[in-house]
């Protein structure tokens, strides 16, 4: 690919200016970053507006902005499931998460696993929840780095050096971006990320609004765009008499994904950093504005299809390396003037910094609180706690970088697919525990989690990790269901049945350190 100097210059200026802002932000304030509550949760200080930018920048990741339109571009209507999913997640956020925030605030919990340990007094269950979170998050960080890689390729940034042992090394730009990410995360924590998320929000909205106005004008209007899409891609297929068909896959994908979204450690970290319950509730009706942007971005996949970027020789190499994920960069290069393509690429590049940082911070928090402090150094000082979290967040980023640079990118995508299935299995321990603690027993929750993990992994593996829609045969019907959801159903059944038996047999007192009034 040929280099695009104008786009590249605009991108670099925006990227380094924003990262620098994040780095210097905490130097202007008097924040004690040797405290985990400050570095890893922003001192639980973010008001409605900052929380809106932070949560929006956190859960609408750069990879989402690349992969959702790519799915529309390649498969059509099914890719639009991201829209109902990110609408329906907010009633859940509104109802359940203020309770979780309250108890975390009162008891000083930093992670979801902290809450699980407090609620059930079980170190093992807390470890299961923490480990699931870390393992599910690392490939997700890798995908953010991949989003950057795609953007760099779009700008024709090819720097290859010949290293003595490794040979030709292509990922110098990614390595630079990684160092920027690592430095500002390490030094500024969630405070710095909050500043960067404001820049991300502004850039995303500017790029999206320009795209949905400018590109349709170039392509002759929305009717021309949709007319260019072959009809099997335009709607979901219909089921047959004994197969419930793509409609049920669509619904199950939406429901499974919405249940998983706020269980991801980076979402929990974002929610816990809010300054009050009302901030979370207000964001439950303010954040759908990001879903609106996502819906428009999804349609960009159809615009790329209508523009015919796949057949253009100048983008052939990009599609060859990144597959349909190259559709959006190709569309931007094709439809925008170079300087604005640079702005749009910066929206993705900076868009990757925010979730990647919060994911790494939340992995650091989980490791420190639920593994290091629990099993290795119970009496460590707050300063040690904070330092360990910083080092661990760096380690998770290095692991993610390893995925992208050393392994095939398909591994990261497959692991992320598994990660969604896995994180969903923590729902009974984290969310149902808010409502029915007496009907749940840690042994039941653990076995339910185990059953869900095994069943979900097995279903995904039997599909060769290419899809997560596993056809379940029930009463003569075939139900193509998202594996995360069917595994979760099994998990919940096992959890309640085993808990019922365990509660009936055991006379040991409950180990719940929380009180009903902690949740209000």
């Amino acid at each position: 690919m040929t280099a695009n100097p104008v786009a590249l210059t605009v991108f670099l200026v925006l990227f380094f200016a924003t990262a620098g802002l994040g780095y210097y932000a905490t130097r202007m304030k008097t924040v004690n970053l040797t405290d985990l509550g400050q570095w890893g949760l922003g001192g639980r200080s973010f008001g409605t507006l900052i929380a809106w930018f932070l949560l929006g920048g956190d859960i609408y990741t750069a990879y989402t902005f690349v992969a959702v339109p790519a799915l529309m571009f390649g498969a059509g209507a099914t890719g639009f499931f991201a829209v109902p999913y990110t609408i329906l997640v907010y009633p859940l956020l509104f109802v359940a998460f203020p309770k979780l925030w309250s108890v975390a605030h009162k008891k000083g919990y930093v992670t979801a696993a902290d809450f699980v340990k407090g609620r059930f007094g079980s170190k093992t269950l807390a470890l299961a929840v923490a480990a699931t979170g870390i393992v599910a998050t690392i490939p997700y960080i890798a995908l953010q780095l991949m989003g950057m890689q795609i953007v760099f390729a779009g700008m024709g940034l090819n720097i290859t050096v010949n290293l003595p042992v490794i040979g030709a090394f292509h990922d110098i730009p990614l390595l630079v971006a990684f160092v920027v990410l690592a430095i500002y995360t390490y030094t500024s924590g969630l405070h710095g990320t909050a500043i960067i998320s404001v820049a991300k929000g502004i850039l995303v909205y500017v790029a999206v609004i320009a795209a949905v106005i400018v590109i349709p004008i170039e392509l002759g209007g929305y009717d021309k765009i949709f007319a260019a899409i072959p009809s099997p891609m335009l709607l979901l297929g219909h089921g047959t008499a004994d197969n419930l068909g793509p409609s049920i896959s669509y619904t199950s994908l939406a429901v499974g994904s919405l249940l998983a979204l706020f269980l991801y450690p980076h979402s929990i970290t974002g929610v816990f950093s809010s300054s009050s319950r009302s901030v979370i509730k207000r964001n439950a009706f303010l954040l759908p504005s990001y879903t609106f942007a996502l819906a428009l971005i999804a349609i960009l996949g159809f615009m790329a299809y209508a523009a015919g970027v796949k057949g253009m020789p100048e983008y052939a190499q990009g599609f060859q390396i990144f597959g349909n994920n190259f559709a959006i960069p190709a569309l931007f290069l094709h439809a925008f003037s170079p300087w604005f393509a640079g702005v749009a690429f910066a929206a993705i590049g900076i868009g990757a910094l925010v979730p990647a940082a919060i994911m790494a911070i939340s992995c650091g928090n989980l490791f420190t609180r639920n593994i290091f402090k629990e099993y290795i150094a119970p009496d460590c000082s707050p300063a040690t706690e904070s330092r360990v979290a910083k080092i661990m967040s760096l380690a998770t980023k290095i692991a993610a970088l390893f995925f992208v640079v050393a392994l095939q990118s398909s591994y990261a995508i497959q692991l992320q697919l598994l990660g969604g299935i896995w994180i969903c299995q923590t729902l009974p321990s984290v969310i149902l525990a808010l409502y029915t603690p007496r009907q749940l027993h840690p042994a039941g929750l653990f076995l339910g989690w185990l059953a869900g993990m095994v069943a979900g992994t097995w279903m995904a593996a039997s599909l060769s990790l290419k899809s997560s829609i596993y056809p379940i045969h029930l009463f003569g019907y075939t139900i193509p269901c998202y594996a995360a959801l069917s595994a979760l159903v099994l998990n919940i059944v096992v959890a309640y049945v085993v808990s019922f038996i365990a509660n009936a047999m055991s006379t040991a007192p409950r180990m719940d350190e929380t009180l009903a009034e902690d949740y209000i």
């Binding site: 509104f94 949709f226 409609s247 009706f285 879903t291 609106f292």
Partner: protein, 90 residues
């Protein structure tokens, strides 16, 4: 036409929920206003209802504009519940 159909379906669900609530002894903290939070699920989880091209707006098929419209309607459903809870706290 389609809107009416949707409204009827929603009404059906909320009514049956309401009945259940009346038969049981009143649970503390439940108020019918929370049924607003159920509406988006009714509107978006029954896919065959909106898996269609017509009616189009500016050439955009129903499937796409209907779901996109719900980003705003979802917000509109949450706001009354928010104000109810804020009022209750005072």
């Amino acid at each position: 036409m389609n809107k009416k159909k949707g409204a009827a379906a929603k009404g059906g669900v909320s009514m049956s929920k309401g009945k259940e609530m009346d038969e049981q002894p009143r649970r503390r903290g439940f108020h019918p206003i929370y049924l607003f939070l159920v509406l988006p699920f009714v509107a978006l989880l029954w896919v065959p209802f909106y898996n269609r091209i017509e009616p189009e707006i500016f050439g955009i098929p129903f499937f796409y504009w209907y779901q996109t419209l719900w980003t705003f309607l979802g917000t509109a459903c949450t706001i009354p519940v928010y104000f109810y809870e804020e009022k209750k706290r005072k």
